[in-house]
Amino acid sequence: MDPDFLVSVTAILFLSLISVWVLWLGVDALRSRAIARRSVEAEHGFLQARVAQIMAQKDFEKEKKELSWNGYRKFEVTERRDEGGNITSFILRPHDKKKLPPFHPGQYLTFSLTAGDWPKPMIRCYSLSNCHQPDCYRVSIKRIDKNPAIAQSHDGRVSNHFHQKIQPGAIIDVKAPSGQFFLDITKSPPIVLIAGGVGLTPLLSMLNAVVATGSKREVWLFYGVRDGSHHIMREHLAQLALENENINLRVCYSSPRTDDVRGRDYHHHGRVTIDLLRAELPSSNYRYFICGPADMMKQATAGLKAWGVPENHINYEAFGAATVKNVASPGVVKPDRAMKIEFARSGKVLDWDYQSESLLDFAENHGILIESGCRAGNCGTCLTAVKSGDVEYVTEPGEQPESGSCLTCISVPKADLKLDA
């Protein structure tokens, strides 16, 4: 073949290819511009969502601030419902019929109750068991019975009072919702709720809040009860799990009755253990909210930590004598000379043991009685005067105590201390 012809053809081919390439460059530029535009729009949407979230938070704070109240407010019990398993829900409406402030799901109400045979009002905290409603609160209270296995135990005075005495129409004093154990509904990391028995109540509030806000965040609820009779809110939970694919419900019966059917009534036989979590969850990358009996909470917390979950991702409701507290890190070195704690009224001088979770625990362990309520630094029952020395709070108190006093349930000594107790 004529080499000139070949050269020509090759050259023309080259030129054609270059023309095609230039055309393609133009198309590519358009395409890339479209991508860039979409990217900008997405960025815009993302920022708008962020702004909306921040605005929602602001609104929430504003509303809360405007509608909240100080001290106790009169509420009327308008309705009570037996949930089963010795648990009764009470619907509270403000006596003044004014709007209620919003609250973070997981927070609790502080009640001050008086009864004829009580020397002074009893302070108790009960978790709100529903998400925010502008006109009413709901608390679910389990009646505490005397534990026959423990000799010194007695019936829960306040819970029994609620169950027996509080009927619709009753007026009770309630503090505004508070508590550090709550779910921030403006954010959306996936969460695991671990409930044991009546510990479900704050978690139910959270669950309802997630559903109510329409969030698509992934939620796992591990609900451990003894058997079907203690399985409260069964239909409600089942319906939520059915209607929302982001909500996963796992109910565990530790000792199912004969008529409890696995698959219908419950999913697992046994307690909520870390092994169950490992088996059910794809990974440990969740925020954990735990509320339940002390043993369960201790085990779950330890198990999660062992699974690599950082401490600040594990939230638990701290109330009662045996709940999990910010345990002093094992690394704390005991100084040579232990701090002296003097209880002036009892006349005892003791060495601080560096293991007790709070001064209240320390005092109770040594037989010194300090009245207490929520044990979470909220109700102010355990307020004790500090005669000398200083204390350190392990968690932020719900209400700053006046100077010269301390909330013994959430404080540890900083130095030698003299308490008026």
Binding site: S8, F14, R33, S39, P190, P282, S283, N285, V309
Partner: protein, 656 residues
């Protein structure tokens, strides 16, 4: 300048000079994400990290640079919780540059390929490969009526690889220029100048295309040189002529003497004011120098107008004695031989008649006894004669017989014996020229007389110009200035010592040259003004020559000064003296004693650069290099360009 610090590892996780993409956010907002585009050019910053899965937990791996572990941490399924809308990464400038360069190369190659293959004769088929019109006469070069690329480009029409190679090497251009253009020296040596024929390889070779760029348009002056081009090679660089050009080497420009010895100092200072000659003296320089015709040189009016008024008498007054009847010791000739050639003189005839009458009367003398010889002439032989005949002037005994034999020969055939003798010292034609115009009768008559040992009696009273004789001498007297016979004798005398070998003859030749070169007494007074110069060639033979023309033979072709524009500036009267300042103390005449023209002391002081700089400076007149300097040595054509034809390619190459 590229800020290379942006490539440091801590400044950017991904921006590297060789990366093909850069972050789209960077391009849009100037703030790149922490991860940057991935290798395929898609957005790598949708998430801030790729979490690590270990023991049932995903761990955040966001680098510290980007803030370390994020607060939210990985999602349960292992996805990063910090997601962003993807950007559209941009290609880096480097990629575009590379693509543009590649595309340009391909386009150029393709277009060249198309254009080359589009016409069977290989001549550009598309206008964009047309290199542009040729300048001036080059545009007329043609082969068989079409544009003659091959005249200059040897590779034109050759195969593609030769063509491509020549694009790089330009080798096809070397050598064709000298088909037409030749110079006074090698064409590939700077300034065509060699030092006594020796080239300096360390200076490298030059090519024509170093300076001359063709295809710049019909009006382009491709021979124009800029100062910058000169400075490309010249190591001694300077800004401009006025600022720091080297001073002229003294004496400038009088490096060699003139051919004509004209002492300006003595003429102007002495002769022009002498009452005897003042009438003929010129009023100013214009009297002799034709300033209206001034160019590189200012011509002079010439001898007739400038010199003859005073010097004509000397020219025709100084005779040249070619041959002389000298003192002889005895007669070597048979009387019958002379009689044979010359016949009887009236005196002899009278004598003979007397003796015959006496014989008839019975007076019979005894057999004749030889008469005692007495020398009639006591003159000395001429220097010219001694050279021609090989005699010694002082040797009376030795010179008698040869000269008498010469005279005898001349009695028979005029000047021919002289011409023959001269022909042994120069060419036959030269010898004839020496005696041109000499009448054979005069030669014979003088010879007859001198052979008879008597004087020659001139028939007319006044000796005429040209050939003549007096009692004892054959003489030549110049007819006027530039007499050809006298000139040929001068040339003969100047050349003789170099041409004649043999100790004695050489001495005689030198004596003759000395005679002619004498500025005060020399024949024809030629040597008074015409300098005798050493023109020895490189083969070592000493050779002198009289310089006849006003202008020197060799001219410095690479420097150029034009008098004309300078003369118009302030009038010719003072214009000359502005630069040529008379120096009365200079030993001008003395510098002509020697034959070396370079040992010259001018009548005029050296021309200083400062004089030129008065006008040729930044704010004045041109002062570029080529105003005074010419690059080429003696540029010319080696053949008439109009007859130049390039043999069409292929013809004769194949042996047909």
């Amino acid at each position: 300048m590229i800020d290379f610090s942006k490539f440091r590892y801590f400044a950017s996780a991904y921006e590297r000079p060789s990366f093909k993409y850069r972050c789209g956010r960077m391009a849009r907002w100037g703030k790149a994400c922490a991860r940057g585009p991935d290798i395929s050019g898609s957005c790598g910053g949708v998430t801030e990290c790729t979490p690590l899965f270990r023991d049932g937990r995903h761990y955040c791996r966001r680098p510290k640079r980007a803030g370390g572990d994020c607060f939210d941490g990985p999602l349960p399924d292992g996805a990063c919780s910090q997601s962003h809308p993807p950007c559209a990464p941009r290609r880096t400038l480097r990629v575009w540059r590379g693509r543009a360069a590649l595309a340009a190369i391909f386009i150029v190659i393709s277009l060249i390929a198309i254009s080359m293959s589009s016409r069977p004769d290989g001549v550009a088929g598309l206008a964009f490969v047309d290199p542009g019109p040729l300048s001036g006469h080059h545009a007329n070069l043609s082969v068989e009526g079409s544009v003659a690329c091959t005249v200059c480009h040897a590779a034109a029409g050759a195969s593609a690889d030769t063509w491509l190679a020549s694009v790089v090497t330009h080798a096809d251009m070397d050598g064709q220029c000298t088909d037409c253009h030749v110079f006074g020296g090698p064409s590939n040596i700077a300034h065509n100048r060699t030092l006594f024929g020796v080239t300096r390889p360390d200076l490298g070779e030059t090519t024509c295309r170093s300076c001359h760029k063709e295809h710049k348009g019909a009006e382009a002056d491709i021979s124009k040189l800029t100062d910058a081009q000169c400075n490309t090679c010249h190591l001694t660089r300077f800004d401009s002529f006025s600022r720091n050009h080297a001073d002229f080497v003294k004496p400038f420009p009088y490096r060699k003497r003139n051919n004509i010895i004209f002492d300006h100092a003595s003429h102007i200072g002495k002769h022009f004011s002498d009452p005897k000659t003042a009438a003929d003296a010129p009023a100013n320089c214009n009297g002799c120098h034709l300033t209206e015709q001034a160019a590189r040189y200012v011509p002079v009016v010439g001898y007739q107008e400038a010199c003859s008024a005073c010097h004509e008498d000397q020219v025709i007054g100084r005779e040249m004695a070619v041959l002389r009847f000298p003192e002889f010791d005895q007669n070597y000739l048979e009387e019958s031989e002379i009689l044979d050639a010359c016949g009887l003189t009236p005196q002899q005839a009278a004598d003979l008649f007397e003796r015959l009458r006496a014989f008839e009367e019975g007076d019979r003398p005894d057999p004749r006894e030889p008469e005692e010889y007495f020398a009639y002439s006591l003159e000395q032989a001429t220097v010219i004669g001694s050279l021609l005949t090989g005699i010694d002037i002082d040797d009376v005994a030795g010179q008698s017989e040869p000269l008498q034999r010469l005279f005898l020969a001349m009695t028979r055939s005029g000047q021919d014996p002289l011409v023959e003798l001269a022909a042994t010292r120069t060419t036959t034609a030269g010898a004839r020229q020496l005696f041109a115009g000499l009448s054979p009768e005069l030669a014979r008559q003088t010879a007859c007389q001198w052979a008879r040992n008597v004087e020659y009696v001139r028939p007319d009273a006044e000796r005429p110009r040209g050939w003549g004789a007096d009692e004892f001498s054959l003489l030549y007297r110049a007819i006027g200035h530039a007499d050809p016979v006298m000139k040929s004798w001068m040339d003969f005398a100047a050349a003789a010592p170099g041409r004649i070998t043999g100790e004695e003859d050489h001495q005689r030749a030198l004596a003759m040259r000395t005679l002619f070169a004498d500025r005060k007494t020399g024949p024809g007074a030629c040597a008074k003004c015409h300098s005798l110069e050493d023109v020895s060639t490189s083969d070592g033979v000493e050779q002198l020559a009289f310089k006849w023309s006003y202008y020197r033979d060799e001219q410095r072709s690479q420097k150029f000064f034009n008098h004309q524009p300078h003369l118009g500036l302030s009038g010719p009267e003072i214009a000359c003296e502005s630069c040529h300042r008379l120096n009365a103390d200079a030993d001008y005449a003395g510098s002509f004693e020697d034959f070396d023209p370079t040992l010259f002391v001018s009548n005029f002081g050296s021309v200083e650069r400062a004089t030129c700089v008065d006008c040729h400076n930044e704010t004045g007149v041109r002062q570029d290099c080529t105003l005074c300097h010419r690059y080429h040595e003696d540029p010319k054509f080696n053949k008439p360009v109009t007859r130049y034809m390039v043999k069409p390619k292929g013809e004769g190459d194949d042996g047909s």
